[in-house]
Symmetry: C2
Subunit: 107 residues, 2 copies
């Protein structure tokens, strides 16, 4: 099956205030993130490259030493193994990100 | 530079009615597609996996033998080398897609 609906994708709770809906291929994963206001994503790294944009709301996103409040119209590319963290601001926020290779841990 | 704005990404015209703004990493590409009403994307294949969703508008998207009118709320995963084509319907349409590996031809 090639076609899907976001509504029907499996939802996964990663941590309080962080829910995701991943669509995994063989080479990469497209992941919808749903962040509650005030949620922190602590600094972390992973070998997956991570490219994304904001669909709704805003968050403070720090990549390496670049901190920026991102909202609709912003985009980013986090290379493999570069530390990053995020803080969701006052509104429920939706972010769409792509990982390569596949986030097997999100399956 | 890890942070970008969509407005500042380089725009590329692929064919009449098809403009893109790619953000290329090392392992994959995030690509915004801007399609004019009525535009056809003829059937084609490529080795890149292609996972996407609709941000605005709608299009008839045929992947292999699965034809569907897709709009906001829909998503798809086109495996490597599977034939696909699209027809943009009555409204200007924006689609966000992720390719792995990188679309070097979009650089």
């Amino acid at each position: 099956m090639y076609h899907h609906t976001i509504a029907e994708l499996n939802s996964k709770n990663l941590a309080p205030g962080i829910d995701i809906k991943p669509l995994n291929g063989k080479k990469g994963s497209m992941v919808f993130f749903y962040l509650a206001p005030g949620t922190d994503i602590p600094e972390h790294t992973h070998p997956h490259e991570q490219i994304g944009t904001v669909l709704k709301g805003s968050l403070e996103l720090t990549i390496g030493d670049e901190k920026k409040v991102v909202k609709a119209g912003d985009a980013w590319c986090i290379p493999s193994d570069v530390a990053h963290k995020a803080h969701c601001l006052d509104a429920a926020t939706e972010v769409l990100e792509f990982f390569a290779p596949v986030r097997e841990d999100y399956a």
